[in-house]
């Protein structure tokens, strides 16, 4: 049996009386895209926070690559290979697109207590960054200020920043949010290519994208996973239909 790259065991999180995550267990296996869907307010953002380390869990465990990382900080988890994208774009707007990704590459190469060599002229950093930009289709934007990119391009850069860390797992927080149909199609294509080397946990509202990408889907409602299985099973599950999926979306 393969060891899951990410395993959540009985996670709980409450904000005062509001239980946002309820005995939540979930696995992401190597080579798969595991999608988490659920209506607004289901606790998806909190769950991502608990996985990335930004939100401490009340109880339960987060195992990453078999290691218990429950008490680790965001930076420690990221260093261990947990890459993520943000629902609300978090890029470095004053840097050029290339500098953004080069910083990601630099972070992956170890500590940055290097004071004397000019980072902008570091060929190694720039070449690695450039190849990631090519992968996400932003190569011709490399020297542009990141803050001046279009929204769709910023979403691509967001993904490029996560890829720069050569992650062992990608946690994607609504990567399609606000992108047009063409960009969504391109993003799906890119994610399918990335899947060859990196498993993903995908939180997404765009059902078309989810059914195209996911190997497994878990449905989150009020902090609880009410169903988990292959896309076809989820489509057919009456509980899921009732709780979340509109009939017309399944037609």
């Amino acid at each position: 049996m393969t060891c899951p790259i990410l395993e959540l065991k009985d996670l709980n999180k409450a904000y005062d009386a509001l239980q946002v995550t309820r005995n939540l267990s979930l696995k992401v296996l190597p080579g798969e895209i595991h999608a988490v869907i659920g209506p607004n307010g289901a606790g998806k953002t909190t769950l991502i926070g608990q996985i990335s380390g930004a939100t401490p869990s009340d109880s339960g465990q987060v195992l990453f690559g078999g290691t218990n990382v429950t008490g680790w900080s965001v930076a420690e988890r990221a260093k261990a290979g947990l890459g993520r994208t943000f629902q609300i774009t978090a890029i470095l707007p004053e840097f050029t697109v290339l500098e953004n990704v080069a910083l990601g590459v630099q972070a992956h190469e170890g500590h940055s207590f290097r004071f004397f060599r000019n980072a902008a002229r570091d060929q190694d950093l720039n070449e690695k960054a450039a190849s990631i930009l090519t992968e996400v289709g932003l190569a011709d934007r490399a020297s542009l200020r990141a803050g001046n990119l279009s929204h769709g391009e910023k979403r691509m850069l967001e993904l490029a920043l996560a890829l720069a860390g050569e992650p062992k797992l990608l946690v994607l927080d609504e990567p399609m949010a606000g992108t047009g149909p063409e960009e969504t199609a391109r993003l799906i294509e890119i994610l399918l290519a990335v899947k060859q080397r990196c498993p993903m946990l995908l939180v997404e509202h765009d059902m078309d994208a989810v059914f195209k990408l996911a190997d497994r889907i878990s449905v989150l409602v009020y902090g609880e996973i009410i169903a988990s299985g292959a896309p076809d099973e989820i489509r057919a599950d009456p509980k899921v239909r009732e709780a979340y999926l509109g009939e017309e979306e399944l037609a």
């Binding site: 990221a78 707007p93 500098e99 803050g147 860390g165």
Partner: protein, 323 residues
């Protein structure tokens, strides 16, 4: 690219070239005042670029930066009280004292953000200030007069007007080049990145705290060197060196020049001190003019004096606007 060449290469070169000629000017026109005045300006410019390093690049608004001037100045003056005049003893000690204070206070202050960081650095600055006022063995409130200047292997480097000017000029140039190199390095990139999006850096696996602390200590050490020079320049030290007014003035100098370029801070220091000197010569109510002038520069010249020079400084100001 031409704009950035003008701003980041030609301008600092011209600035340093002009500053290098000040002793020659003073010699030709027999103007000792200008030489002494510019020595003082350059000492402050060293402090200002060290503040710009943390404030402009790292968005750490330290309201206690004048404390490091005090650490440097008192190290030199107190040693001179004990008849130790050698700069190779007093200067490293000044740097070590300032660095240690920065390490301890920075480790605590950098746990906070925004207004709290401003307040806590102010509090530590005041703590240093009141400690100095209570040093009764070393003058307390009244300060401490030095009966001479530091020595360096009997060279008299500190004593001649022109040689001391060149010494200060050399320290400023070295500090500028060092900080500029740091700013362009991987370390500098982390510092600038942390200012733009902390969650993103953490998601990359970088904990900005350690980098900020390192920058804070570097800035404190450089400001301490300036303090040690200042004690020599005025042959007198007092707690007023570390007052919060002084810290505030330093912030104004850096903002006036334009954040983040380092040579902008030098320009800001020159503009601030020359303006202060000229205006106070006209009237004792010079602050009535000086205050509004500063407000005008900050309001209309976003990016400070550097922002008035054509080029790509808009990179920063526009970046914030379209967030």
């Amino acid at each position: 690219m031409t704009g950035s060449l003008l701003k980041n290469t030609i301008l600092p070169l011209a600035l340093f070239a002009a500053l290098a000629l000040v002793p020659a000017y003073a010699d030709v026109f027999d103007d000792r005042f200008v030489l002494l005045f510019f020595t003082r300006i350059l000492v402050f410019a060293i402090v200002a670029i060290s503040l710009d390093f943390i404030l402009g690049l790292g968005a750490m608004v330290s309201f206690g930066h004048a404390a490091y001037i005090g650490f440097g100045a008192y190290a030199v003056a107190i040693l001179s009280e004990h008849d130790i005049w050698e700069a190779w003893i007093s200067f490293p000690l000044a740097v070590a004292a300032g660095g240690l204070f920065a390490l301890i206070t920075g480790a605590i202050s950098l746990k906070t953000r925004g207004v709290y960081f401003i307040m806590i650095t102010l509090a530590f600055g005041q703590m240093a200030y009141f400690t100095a006022t209570s040093l009764s063995a070393y003058g307390g409130d009244d300060g401490l007069t030095m009966w001479g200047r530091s020595e360096l292997f009997g060279t008299g480097l500190f004593t001649g007007d022109a040689s001391f000017y060149y010494l200060v000029f050399g320290v400023l140039a070295a500090a500028y080049l060092l900080l500029r190199t740091f700013a362009a390095s991987r370390f500098g990139r982390v510092l600038k990145g942390a200012k733009q999006s902390e969650p993103r850096l953490e998601a990359m696996g970088i904990d900005p705290y350690r980098y900020r602390l390192a920058a804070y200590v570097i800035a404190g050490m450089i400001a301490s060197v300036a303090g040690a020079l200042m004690a020599n320049q005025s042959e007198f030290v007092s707690p007023a060196y570390m007052s919060w007014h002084r810290s505030g003035e330093l912030i104004v100098m850096v903002i006036l020049g334009g954040l983040g370029s380092l040579h902008g801070a030098i320009l800001g220091t020159i503009a601030y001190m020359v303006l202060e000197e000229v205006l106070s010569g006209y009237s004792e109510h010079w602050r009535l003019v000086f205050g509004p002038l500063l407000i005008l520069v900050v309001l209309y010249g976003r990016g400070g004096l550097m922002g008035l020079i054509p080029g790509q400084i808009g990179r920063q100001s526009r970046g914030e606007a379209d967030q």
